[in-house]
Symmetry: C3
Subunit: 151 residues, 3 copies
Amino acid sequence: MLIPDVVLAIGERMTYQESFQTRTSGRGTFDITREVEQIVTCSGISSGICHLFIHHTSASLVLCENADPSVRTDLERFMARLVPDGDTMFEHTMEGSDDMPAHIRSILSKMDLTIPVTNGRSGLGTWQGIYLWEHRTRPHSRMVTVTVMGD
Amino acid sequence: MLIPDVVLAIGERMTYQESFQTRTSGRGTFDITREVEQIVTCSGISSGICHLFIHHTSASLVLCENADPSVRTDLERFMARLVPDGDTMFEHTMEGSDDMPAHIRSILSKMDLTIPVTNGRSGLGTWQGIYLWEHRTRPHSRMVTVTVMGD
Amino acid sequence: MLIPDVVLAIGERMTYQESFQTRTSGRGTFDITREVEQIVTCSGISSGICHLFIHHTSASLVLCENADPSVRTDLERFMARLVPDGDTMFEHTMEGSDDMPAHIRSILSKMDLTIPVTNGRSGLGTWQGIYLWEHRTRPHSRMVTVTVMGD
């Protein structure tokens, strides 16, 4: 009876998965570092990886400098110039002028992100924060799944 | 004799890896969601991650909206404007005017992609499909490796 | 006494994590394929994934063609045109004209990268190399953490 317990304990430590919802207020970056840190702590995993995934095609997950807010307004301004809303090149405009740009912005900034777990915490650099990037101009509810794996 | 069996069973469930080839018909996006789903099912893994990797530098793997095909033609048109074939800025033109653009497009859209596995299936959002994006104008055979890990 | 040994052996094989520092000479791409290969070998893991992470917001990790150096000079030239140093659009210029461009370049080319491990080696394609991409014009010391997981 001792053996199955030990075996199950290892199985449980290997993979921990949890999802959460974030309500955005429209286009912009939203800091989710604290939510992710809490999930890493809950997982009880000491060393491994933490995988983040957003289940949408018009919002993304990025690492960004976390000290000066102007970094993220500059980033937003850059992206708005790179992929302009209402560009006449786009056919897919069903949901408005920010519809297709939101898909392209998400592909360029990615919907998945993996960070290391070290000593039971996310191994982010000092200036790295985790941001959910809403690309639609209106508010949305966004679901993120976090999977922590390791020992 | 019972103990090694239990232990091996856990080892086997942890990591499942399989590669497949896709023949593209030239530049464009090719839906590989079904192939990936089948591999996740074969793995027998219930909760964890599924890592996809393309072993080339002129094709990539992306998540994209899977309902309206005009999303992917708009995406293609956008990328062709961002990284124009035959741009005189490029020195590396050995294999033609789409050679260097294919490398840059692959780096901007990435050759690796990781999605969650939940309840024995890939945890994609309703509108998310997995696409192999061929960046060369001529047909190519592309190899993708899928690694499923978890419990 | 046999059982805990077996169990621990599995635990140890699952996750192997190691960090290293690289000194860059300023903006450009630096081949770290050999360092990563050595860590994969040290891990003793035969089949699984290798996750790379750079703990900074002004340098990134990319896969790129490894045969013709002009691919990487073309890539550099493309990125310099896409995100120009000294663009008057940027407010965040505290550390100079390459400060904000370095953050944007890092977000577009990503700070995390995951490759498969197959037969005890990184499963890179023939023409794929792993590069640390320094986006600041001056030399920096950069920390990379490599986590290898699998059987």
